[in-house]
């Protein structure tokens, strides 16, 4: 199934692209998507962005789907889902 990831704001700079498309097998989870993101882009990222233990973004990065937040690596992804990744920090 096709999953589109949008990297918002400064994440686009850090990942190296504003969006990317992933072709994952049916039933793929957030962890599968993260693994693919890491495989493709991790070498570009600041070391503080990626958690090597969980092979995913650090918890300060939010993954927001069309209707729900993907806040657990075990969550299955919706078919054709578009996910916005953004950093959980607000400027003052």
């Amino acid at each position: 199934m096709i999953i589109t990831a949008h990297f918002y704001g400064i994440l686009a700079d850090w990942v190296g692209t504003p969006s990317a498309v992933f072709d994952l097998s049916a039933g793929a989870t957030v962890a599968d998507l993260m693994h693919e993101i890491g495989r493709r882009y991790q070498r570009n990222m600041p070391e503080q962005l990626w958690d090597r233990k969980t092979d995913s973004f650090k918890k300060q990065v939010r993954a927001q789907g069309t209707a729900i937040a993907y806040n657990d690596l075990n969550m299955p992804l919706g078919k054709g889902e578009e996910i916005i990744f953004m950093l959980l920090i607000a400027g003052g």
């Binding site: 704001g9 400064i10 700079d13 300060q60 953004m86 920090i89 607000a90 400027g91």
Partner: protein
Amino acid sequence: MKGYHGRFLEVDLKNKTTTDFSISEDFSKAYIGGATMAAALVYDRVKPGTDPLSPENPMVMATGPFTGTSIPMVSRYAIGGISPLTGYWGEATSGGVFPFRLKGSGWDGIIINGKAASPVYLYLKGGQAEIRDAQNLWGQDSYETQKIIKEELGEDKVGVACIGPAGEKLIRYACVMNDKGRAAGRCGFGALMGSKNLKAVVAAGNARPELADAGKVGELAKQAVKDINGNLVSVALREYGTLMYVDMGMVLGDTPAKYFTKSVFPVSEVTGQALRQNYSVANYACRGCPIGCGREIKDYKPGLDVDGPEYETTVGFGPLCLNTDFDSIIEANHLCNCHGIDTISTSVSVAYAFYLYEQGALTKDQVGFELKWGDGQAILNLVQKIVDQEGIGELLSKGVLATARGLGRDEGEAAQVKGLEMPMHDGRAFHGLAVSYATGPRGACHLKGDYYNVDLGNMVLEYMILPSDRLISEGKGEPAAKFQSFKDLFDALTLCKFAPLQVPQLCDILNALTGWEFGPEELLAVGDRSVNIKRAVSNRFGLTREQDTLPKICLDALDEGTTAGVQPNLEVMLKEYYEYRGWDWATGKPTREKLIELGLNQVTEDLYPQ
């Protein structure tokens, strides 16, 4: 007492005298320092009904036990007093080098009373204080003032906090500037200094209090630097400053546009990335800060470096005015800094003028030129009129509430709480923020608390402040109150709001500095006490529950973006908030029981006389 000098300098400008005011260890434990200690000192000194611009309104500048130590992100100070803008309790904080120098001068802070017969500045060094003539400085802008003082003293290791011409003219939202473009911006303390004929406070010296366990403080400082540098947010702030949030805020409906009536805007032209790409940008760091979130724009014009606009300023003069011209935003920021006026209150007042013009409530004849949304030059012209006190600028310089009243408009369209203009986060996008705004100790304040950070996932487990659906109101009142108390603590400790330090770390640091045995509960109790004594100050100046609200223009549901159709249920959250706080729903005052629980005995007697 460890961690403190144990004394404030009390200044009488009228009689040109200075004395020491001792602070006890019990007093320090109860209020810690910064804005909280300032509130306690002001409470004891100001009489209800005092005109904020009269000599009888004292102004307190305070550091805390963290200030001037090796702990990172603590070179900050607070100003407290009755706000010339709101008429209630007011406070403002700023970072830089000045706070480090202020603590190094040999006092924990200063209490300034009276009014000098002619312009003066206060010079503090190594425990000695002098009131010096400042007639040659009167009329100088804030950058020139700092430069001239340093040149006259012939020493560079001094900190200067000063006012610009706006403070001298008593503009109600004039601020106090330090370290070039750093500002204690909110509530109009520049006007209070101006009303006292006090142009600047200058601090030098390296007096440091004895610490309870200096070795432990050193270890904790090293760990804190490591934690800060390892934090993703620190990396983002270093790279793009506070502006990193503009585009994310727009996605969330949190970044307001067109005077709080829109939430969608072509934001890519005014982001942190755009600033980096289009200008020569250097980082500015407060003393001891490993992040450096401040921006300096080099050679903005030939030979002119200017301070870069922060998130609040950029959104205020940008999306809030539908303006994508970054040059005009930078210039508006610089104009505000030179004259010493708060960029939030100024930009909201300017945006309100555009709104009024569109509504037909202001005409070209009244303004002197057309006001078309997004016209950067018109924004600059309005700011100039404000600082010059010319035409419509004079009314706008009193803030949006006074402007609405002056023009006979519905006060619900004045974007403010208790007279303090609304910052650039939208309560419709984070309902916990809406109740924080409505109840903030100084009015609409995005820093007490910055509840958007909670619902974005930044929890405080020790106090069970946990993220939840940002667009749900029910259940937000209590955590918003706790978070407000927690963030009030930051200004008691003089800790930067961006410091990603955990509650146990804060306790360890405080205890190593002072020898006390604070745990998370004792720390939060100080935050609660802080919010309550500030509330009591304002209650004595007429504040009631009726002022704990948001204006209609910031509550009405929008018809676009991710918050379309959303309206916070303020009533529900306020009831929960009052319940947690122990405040009386009928009067808006802390209950007698709550005040006794917090040990605020004098306040109890004053608010509930027998």
